[in-house]
């Protein structure tokens, strides 16, 4: 391995600009004659809009325009869309309520967009927004996930009776019923997957700019997938044809899913710029707006039961889930609790029969969509909490229970669509047990007890599916887009390389790892490779970054383009060295002629390709530039074992994680330093869900009670120990690099590991997430004393 090639711990190319304050985030960009937008948002969870009086605001200092939903309707722009069609089990299509970028007639959650005030300065826009007088007719709100379908519940959208978006199922109900009838033990649980607010530290931001002369729009935006944003804003909103709309997602400060979606604000900024004659309109979210109007994550209410034989062999799994979609269907909301959730309910286990029923519901809360893990953390939570609880009930060691049920031969077809291609679940479990010193746990527990602490250990042997594909298959399941990725490799005449990728980095370090791949393959220096992404004028098309897809899909596209580069370069080298193409060998950056000492460096061949002196252009085209669109043949299936060990203070209910072991199988690892960082961050978000974070709406009024960092607890440095990481490796057979995906593993594995450890420490069956000190104290002392 070279010190910058595949597998090397290479420091990141992108770091210098971030470390020196020279990065270029959307809010750092200021355009000539720029104006500022401020959104008037609904203070009510559910209300009719009776009238909007903008006259006072229009007279305020600096105000250029105040635009409402009526203006938007007058311009005949389309609403925001959900790009994945789910059909209910009765065959009917999901019920999609209208989602205009500015509310028309009704508001449906606190923070819903009502109007935009455009002014010369940010302060003037904000001050004038206070003067927009909106007369609301307040309506009762439906807030809680479990309450949405009850008779008499307020209706969020007329098109969706009982607030039901769809009632969907997957699996074989009869086979499950039959297996339960034969079971010797059944473990049944009601599990709540708490609602989370993503909170990337960079707030969302957009600058819309319209050039009247060219009838051309430019949007700078905090996006994980600028090309999809352009497609939606063009094809569905109808702002402009794609060739008249450029979308740029420059440096983006974290996403975790929340910056995948096409939101109202960026659409409105673009449109408002045209409305005011072309001056750019800039908007940057205040943190409270992020809390109110970024898409939230999770929010499932699940009743699940697992059937076992007398030895603890799992016979069947039955799952009923209600998933909260919020007030509108966000861009990919519908696929999260369906094809990204129920398809993973087999976990790492050989489960002969599974049936999942999922009802998605509207409520008067912010839209819910993919958040790090997206469906897979929810599935893992159900499976791993059931497995742990079943093992305890059957008095089987939880590690042994898992061993008895692991899938051991591949490929493995689960009863819920997925075909696992490779893995070794025993290997990751055993390695994790050793790293965690599982054998020494009873002694540590006794020592903790002597100090007045309750100590617990919990496992999560998770599986995830990354790099969602192939396009034809997901299309048949309702996806509105294909999920391939594009790459273009441009070799310059001096042999340096630019890679244009449809993936988008917002912390993942693609500028480094993608350059490692190119450096490794072409045998050229790491420094001579640049990676370009995030601009629809530079990269022709791409699907962006989410679902841990950029390694498996994005890098494979680059790899395929590199194959073409090598093939073309061999033709050029053969012509220049007057040899047969079949005799050209390429290794370590040099082209040689078999059996001779003839040799050309990669850069020499590149130059020869561009000067085109030594070959007939009728046979070989000049230049060296190739592209590829890669559509994978399957998902990748990263898996592993996380073990959490924690102590609970009997007096305060405070939980302290004392040890964390993560052993993951991500296939080939391009850069261990970056992969470890992804795991660390994922664990922190998963632990955050388990112990710290929770979005709370008032269940009567729908007011968001956790609307700032003062109210929504974010994980901080002192909430964690240092993590112990290990890796096992089974190569992914469906891509030439053997890579899987690593971005979401921690967030998927962690909540179940924490809650298995915590319930073990407390000796209780379940504690709701987030298990705050108060919640834990109540679990230890009963609700009566807690109320005192």
């Amino acid at each position: 391995m070279s010190d910058t090639g595949i597998g090397a711990r290479v420091q990141r190319k992108e770091d210098r600009r971030f470390l020196t304050g020279k990065a270029n985030y959307t809010d750092d960009i200021n355009l000539k004659n720029q104006t500022y937008g401020y959104f008037v948002r609904s203070p009510h969870a559910h209300a009719t809009i009776e009238a909007i009086d903008t006259s006072k605001a229009l007279k305020a200092p600096g105000v250029i325009a105040v635009l409402t939903g009526a203006d938007l309707a007058a311009d005949k722009l389309g609403g925001l869309i959900c790009g994945w069609m789910i059909h209910s089990k009765d065959g009917s299509p999901m019920k999609v309520g209208p989602h205009p970028a500015l509310a028309q007639g009704k508001v449906r959650y606190v923070g819903d967009h009502v109007a935009i005030v455009v002014a010369k300065t940010k302060a003037e826009a904000k001050a004038a927004a206070e003067l927009v007088k909106v007369s609301y007719g307040e309506l009762p709100a439906v807030v809680d996930t479990g309450a949405a379908q009850k008779s008499g519940a307020p209706q969020v959208h007329d098109v969706a009776p009982k607030n039901t978006v769809f009632s969907w199922e997957l699996g074989n109900k009869a086979a499950v019923d039959d297996a339960f009838a034969r079971a010797r033990h059944v473990t049944k649980m009601k599990l709540l997957n708490n609602r989370l607010i993503p909170n990337a530290i960079e707030p969302r931001s957009a600058i819309g700019s319209y050039d009247a002369a060219g009838e051309h729009f430019t949007l700078y935006t905090t996006s994980q997938n600028p090309h999809v944003a352009r497609l939606v804003i063009s094809a569905f909103v109808g702002m402009a044809p794609e060739n008249k709309l450029r979308v740029v997602a420059p440096d983006v400060g974290g996403g975790f899913g929340s910056k995948i979606f096409i939101y109202a604000e960026e659409v409105v900024c673009l449109w408002a710029s045209k409305r005011i004659g072309g001056r750019p309109v800039k908007w940057t979210a205040e943190r409270t707006e992020s809390f109110q109007a970024d898409a939230h994550g999770r929010d499932h209410v699940t009743e699940a039961e697992m059937a076992m034989d007398e030895r603890g062999k799992i016979l069947a799994l039955r799952v009923n889930t209600i998933a909260n979609m919020g007030a509108y269907l966000s861009t990919f909301a519908s696929c999260v609790p369906t094809y990204l959730y129920a398809t993973l309910l087999s976990g790492q286990y050989d489960v002969p029969a599974i049936h999942a029923q999922v009802d998605a519901v509207y409520t008067n809360t912010a839209p819910v969509d993919a958040y790090r893990g997206a469906g897979r953390p929810e599935a893992t939570y159900v499976v791993e909490r059931l497995v742990e609880t079943a093992a305890r009930e059957m008095k089987i060691d939880p590690a042994e229970f898992r061993r008895r049920n692991f899938i051991t031969s591949f490929p493995h077809q689960t009863p819920v669509i997925m075909n696992y291609d490779a893995g070794d679940y025993h290997a990751s479990l055993e390695k994790a047990l050793a790293l965690a010193d599982y054998a020494g746990f009873p002694a540590r527990k006794a020592a903790a007890a002597a100090k007045g602490k309750l100590r617990g250990i919990g496992f999560s042997t998770y599986i995830e599916a990354c790099g969602i594909a192939p396009s034809a298959a997901i299309g048949s399941l309702g996806a509105g887009v294909g999920l391939w990725e594009s790459a273009e490799v441009r070799v310059n005449p001096v042999g340096t390389v630019e890679v244009l990728t449809g993936s988008h980095a917002h912390g993942q370090g693609h500028e480094t790892t993608f350059a490692q791949l190119v450096s490794d393959r072409l045998g050229i220096s790491f420094d001579s490779v640049s990676v370009i992404h995030g601009d629809t004028d530079k990269v022709q098309f791409g699907m962006g970054t989410y679902g841990s897809r950029s390694g498996a899909v994005g890098m494979t596209a680059i790899s395929k383009a590199l194959d073409k580069i090598e093939a073309k370069a061999k033709k050029v080298a053969a012509a220049v060295m007057e040899a047969s193409e079949a005799d050209i060998e390429f290794k370590n950056g040099s082209f040689t002629v078999k059996g001779t000492d003839k040799k050309m460096a990669f850069g020499e061949v590149a130059l020869a390709a561009y000067v085109a002196h030594k070959f007939p252009s009728s046979e070989i085209e000049p230049g060296l530039k190739e592209s590829s669109f890669h559509d994978p043949s399957n998902f990748t299936f990263p898996a592993g074992c996380h073990i959490c060990e924690l102590e609970v203070d009997r007096e305060t209910g405070a939980t302290n994680i004392v040890n964390w072991v993560a052993v993951d199988d991500f296939g080939t690892i391009i850069n261990p330093m970056i992969v470890e960082g992804q795991v660390h961050g994922g664990i922190a978000q998963g632990v955050g869900q388990a112990l710290i974070e929770g979005c709370v709406y008032d269940s009567e009024t729908g007011q968001l009670l956790t609307g700032s960092f003062m109210d929504y607890c974010m994980p901080r440095a002192h909430d964690f120990p240092s993590f112990k990481l290990g890796f096992t490796e089974t190569k992914c057979p469906s891509n030439p690099l053997g890579v899987k995906g690593c971005g979401e593993a921690g967030a998927i594995a962690a909540p179940a590991a924490v809650m298995n450890a915590l319930t073990g420490a407390l000796g209780v069956r379940d504690v709701p997430m987030p298990a705050s000190p108060h919640t834990v104290w109540k679990a230890m002392n009963g609700t009566r004393r807690a109320a005192e």
Binding site: R16, H680, A717
Partner: protein, 154 residues
Amino acid sequence: MPSITLRVNDQEVSADVESRTLLVEFLRDQLGLTGTHVGCDTSQCGACVVHLNGVAIKSCTAFAVACDGMQVMTIEGLTKNGSLHPMQEAFREHHGLQCGFCTPGIIMASVDIVRRHGKKLDEATIRNELEGNICRCTGYHNIVKAVQAGAAKM
């Protein structure tokens, strides 16, 4: 409109500012020093930490006029003659950053931790002292390692 004069990254700066202008707005919007970030409105996230007269403060919680006559150091001023500060270098070496948005604030806060606690920092001190900075990407693991290593080299 009040007029203020202060030293920012060792350069004297004079400007007219509105009374309501925050120091972070002055730095970003009037001086173009966009390395200092705004991640919240409640002084919680720490993305806006700069040094005022050598002490770390949250620049979203100071009015620009209140800084008249003072010395401000931002992330842009930490790099001297093109060389990274040892704390910046340590963050790169230990992969203490991913998306980079919280990074300037965390580095400025970390340099101040060393000022107050010295170059030899244990893990618990670093974790507790980072109370005022939120990172969503790294899980803090590599940040802690970076601060420890950077401190030792300062």
